[in-house]
Symmetry: D2
């Protein structure tokens, strides 16, 4: 799959970020580790040069992992020296971006390893952390008044990405969000009701995709496998029977939307989600739990509003297209390519997942993927208008 890259590439790319955007421009006399790396480990910065073809990253048998680790040590060492000196504002800013960037790739390394292992007939175990059995929960609706509210961030003390700015007003009609994420057991009912074969439940593009070669005729979430009437799910702890009480995971936006329609509901908008999250604390099942799998609701406690698992567990698909906020300004210079140019054809996801570092997430954080993508830890929270 073109979206997934090998761990070695991720390691080299986050190193490349510091070399390219900090050492080369700001560290006088810096000698690049290997000139060819500028192109090899560029992800998508056209302003830096023509990147190496994404789909071919997996073919790079050289540099070896050992060489990449040496590259990393070399850059780390030089960065450490640089940090001794007085730094310009631009340099300080880029270092902060570089750290958040590295957190993003920490999550991607996990999702990409999962994709590689999950498609390997051997179903290798990445971590023997085991799975945490989930208790049954009961979903109820949490209502919000809406009105003219504010989302986004301006002039924050803590780091935010450009796509979270500026803070601005949006008008929301009264709405309700589900207290819990959709579970495997609930999703299974959708499957058994013929959800994957009823055109009326699907967006037209979703229905086409479902039946295309790319989808290879989806009939369940990614990593689910049916054998003798029982569904099994591959997790980083290995393959096991699905747990009906766990949040369903690795569904595309098309599947999330079809499930919501089947329930007579819809997905939340990103403004609804962000507004609702204000009363929730930033606790949840993040990568630090070591589970690498959603788990409900053993870790996360409901916020004051009564919403469980808003942060962590799974990225929650919204029905909102990833677009610039009114008055949006991209980061200056080459980092302007970081977010802005992807504002087409993607949907916003919110809340982080069990593969996200806890310190990386916040209410205003906007993740984005294409509607058919499902190799991320992505799940479903239902919404509806208050009658």
């Amino acid at each position: 799959m073109v979206d997934a890259s090998p761990p070695k590439w991720h390691l080299a790319h986050v190193t490349w970020f510091f070399e390219t955007f900090l050492l080369k421009p700001f560290s006088s006399g810096y000698v690049p580790f290997n000139d060819a790396f500028e192109m090899l480990f560029n992800s998508y910065y056209n302003s830096v040069g023509q990147p190496f073809t994404r789909a071919h990253r997996g073919f790079l048998s050289r540099p070896t992992l050992q060489e990449v680790l040496e590259y990393r040590q070399y850059v780390d060492r030089t960065m450490t020296q640089m940090l001794q000196d007085e730094l310009s504002e631009t340099a300080r800013f880029r270092i902060e971006v570089g750290l958040h960037h590295e957190q993003q790739h920490q999550e991607l390394i996990l999702t990409d390893i999962k994709y590689n292992f999950g498609n390997n007939p051997l179903k290798p175990v990445y971590s023997d952390s085991g799975r945490q059995a989930c208790a049954a929960t009961e979903m109820n609706w949490v209502a919000f008044d809406g009105g003219l509210v504010e989302i986004g961030v301006s002039g924050s003390d803590t780091f935010v990405f450009d796509n979270e700015t500026p803070r601005h007003q949006v008008f929301l009609i009264p709405y309700q969000l589900a207290s819990h994420l959709v579970t495997n057991g609930e999703y299974l009912e959708f499957i058994e009701d013929g959800g994957y074969s009823r055109a009326d439940l699907w967006l037209s593009d979703g229905w086409s995709h479902l039946q295309s070669l790319h989808a290879n005729k989806w009939h369940a979430p990614l990593y689910w496998r049916k054998s003798e009437g029982q569904y099994y799910e591959y997790a980083l702890s290995g393959e096991a029977k699905i747990d009906p009480h766990q949040p369903v995971c690795h569904v595309s936006a098309y599947e999330a939307d079809a499930y919501a329609r089947w329930k007579g509901c819809r997905l939340p908008t990103e403004a609804e989600w962000e507004h609702a999250s204000v009363e929730s604390s930033l606790e949840g099942n993040f990568v630090e739990s070591g589970l690498f799998h959603p788990s409900m609701p053993s870790i996360s406690q409901p916020g004051n509003s009564g919403l469980h698992g808003l942060f962590g567990d799974v990225w929650e698909w919204t029905g909102t297209s990833y677009a610039p906020y009114p008055g949006y300004q991209p980061f200056a210079g080459q980092l302007g390519e970081y977010n802005g140019k992807f504002m087409a054809n993607q949907l916003v996801l919110r809340g982080g997942s069990c593969a996200t570092p806890a310190s990386h997430i916040r209410p205003s954080y906007r993740n984005f993927f294409y509607p058919p993508n499902r190799w991320q830890f992505s799940g479903i929270r239902l919404a509806k208008a208050t009658p």
Copy 2:
């Protein structure tokens, strides 16, 4: 191209609409003209059955045009009889939808013939209406205060599509729209400034598309051809040198967005566009002018706000994804497939074109196409935030 269908198919399909949604359910004793037509001329209504493959419509050498015309007469005749009787509310509603549906296909027949002729090396002339030379105009900015405004329609006396409902509040920060559409001459400056080879101007998906096989390395709008340093443009009146004062036409949303970025501007949102259009009269260069080509500003007069050519000439790309309005309800029954299921991956266009029937358009009308589409009469109006 998979999006374009032959005129014969359009003629049969709009006839099929009346046969399927009116005669079969409401005209007792109705004998279908040909049972196979139910599948052949179904466009995308999965609730009616599996449609004939869109990409193969051009291969249908049978039924002949003569047979399709007989089909049309047969259905027209039966519909005329039906109209003598008392009609249920559902039937009356579907007739109205059927007429608006037919207007949509009148426009598509023209755009599809243009696509077929424009790709024929003979460059056939469809209509010798000639082109109307355009006078130079000067663009200025028209400012709007925004605030908490209303768009969309609820409980209208006149027909509206479900996707225009309900009327609802949106919050707009102060913004400005260009008084005129972008012209060929202005767009040519973008081309000559290397617009098609500067990655920094493009959305990432646009840049990829630009260089893909599908795009065949775009270097100008569709129907433009360069010969010995001069650009020519195919119109339904034949090929001629581009007129620098005419609105640029047949650009994709990617091109529109890149042009706007090059100018330091952006595309309007659909809410901005609709709010701004309130003071404009519904006049413009529509299909009735017989020009079948944009023409500025000889026909349309500016609205009170000072916006020229808001209606007619070209569909204006907005930067807004086609999505349901808050509280959106699809049409009941099979016609629920008309609009709602397409609310993914497309952008809204506003204002109608020189191929749109005048009585078909209104301020709240939402057209929608995919960002790379450019065989429709689509153009560019710039927007920016008021500083």
Copy 3:
């Protein structure tokens, strides 16, 4: 399908042949009918110029059929005048090639119409000639001694294509050919024995193709359709139940090879076929019968050797790759592109079909198609080594 062209294109192309290779070089003062036709109706002669894309021939709504017929009359008239004059040897030769070329396209018009009609859900009838019910026949083996024999043609009084030359020696070990073509009934046994799902019966490329998108999971010959346990076959006289005694038709070389392997036999080589045909008269079910469908053995009588239906009915796949004979010389000049450049990846077929003009065929005639092709009237005659 990229291989099939519309009748209008065939009509124009055979006219183009005379205009390009005779009128333009040899008729002084000739004024081309339309300069653009040189490119539009060029099939594959790179020496003439860049041909119009084959896959787009179906999109040429202009010139109209009426214009093509006028083009044809114009060229016919000028050719008739030219024939009054003394002609050079080259001109006389090219006229003869042009006539044989036209016969080839007469066959292709029929196979291409059949492909277009056969894929139309209306299953239009091209000719109401009806089908000729076939009597049961019994296949027996006809043995040939082989040895050092000659095939091909040198210095003939009658026209032959360059690919049939020169006459040359080949060594054949003793072999046997089936007296009759494989019938629908025999082929049905192969299907019902799981022939299409047994990898061991297929060439590797055939097995891959069978399961590819292109083949859309073949499970029977082209134009066969199964409904409630019964196979139907589309013919130019319409769709009807398969006749078990008719020669099976519209099979690819992969299917022919798999069938032969299932029977413990093989396909003949082209040398075996040609050597065996010497004692057969050139009679058979050709296009002149008006059946446009194979028919066994009502028309063709066995040759002295006892081989039935060697000529006409169906083109017989051989196992021999289309390659130059030893000492092969292509036609001189631009007509050198006629045959030679196709000598890669194709297999030879022999004997003509029910769509071939009787005067076009001869024992040395080499037709050639790619192994997966099956829209021609192609069938199977078994062969084996004499034990």
Copy 4:
């Protein structure tokens, strides 16, 4: 590229061969190393089961190289025990096939590593053996009388593959072969004469391929790169300027054929090649030289006939399609899939290469690849008919 596999896969596959065809059927009580390997390391034996998708071999991060080496030791150990016992004729035969099979993969490991390294922008060095500078040579023609000759093998004392049998008669007209292989310098003349842009020189399929996406617009042999007017060639010893006296290598059959046509010659048939090779000794530049690159004619001495470099250096494309010899019988049982099912769409290559083990090659040896393939060490020897 789908044709190339990682070294780890090759190692496992040749081990799998012994496990599947020897240990499982003949070693009572054998416990498979890992049941999943049966599918993972099956190349194409449908009779064994559904093989793992070839194009995905590169994604198998597990089993690790360490595990594959353990698998190999496990199977080697068990095979060694088995060899102590009395073996059936079938077992002895399969062991012999298994050894020859392993030699084939030794060559493929080299060509696949070269493909992986050669496409890596770092151009890694596999072996620092250096290149052997070649002296200039002069090509002359060596004539053969032909006539009714024999090729192939029956009842040999040494191992041969089934596709080399049986020995049989073919008739050859007098012909000549070039004394030397075509060199880089000679091929460069073809390039500089516009060889890659002259349609008249190419087979139709070759010309199409040349301009297709797959070929990415070939303009020189694989691994050639032009920089500032100079061609460089990647070899396993690294990238260097092309040596004009070295045999040209990594050309497809289409390129070989086009070059031959440009010289007014043709490629040899496989019968011509084999008949001519009778007087040559089996010496040449094989893998044992450690050069991993063609080298002329420093190692190989001409045979009595005067042909240089017939064995080793490069596989020589013939113009002959890979097809069964008259009376061909595949190996019995599952090994019948070894060769026979590939007898479609491929061409025969002869003589071995600088990556072939010396003990693997013989005059009757038939290698086969598709005409566009060029990642093997494949080159050109010209032929022509004796006037």
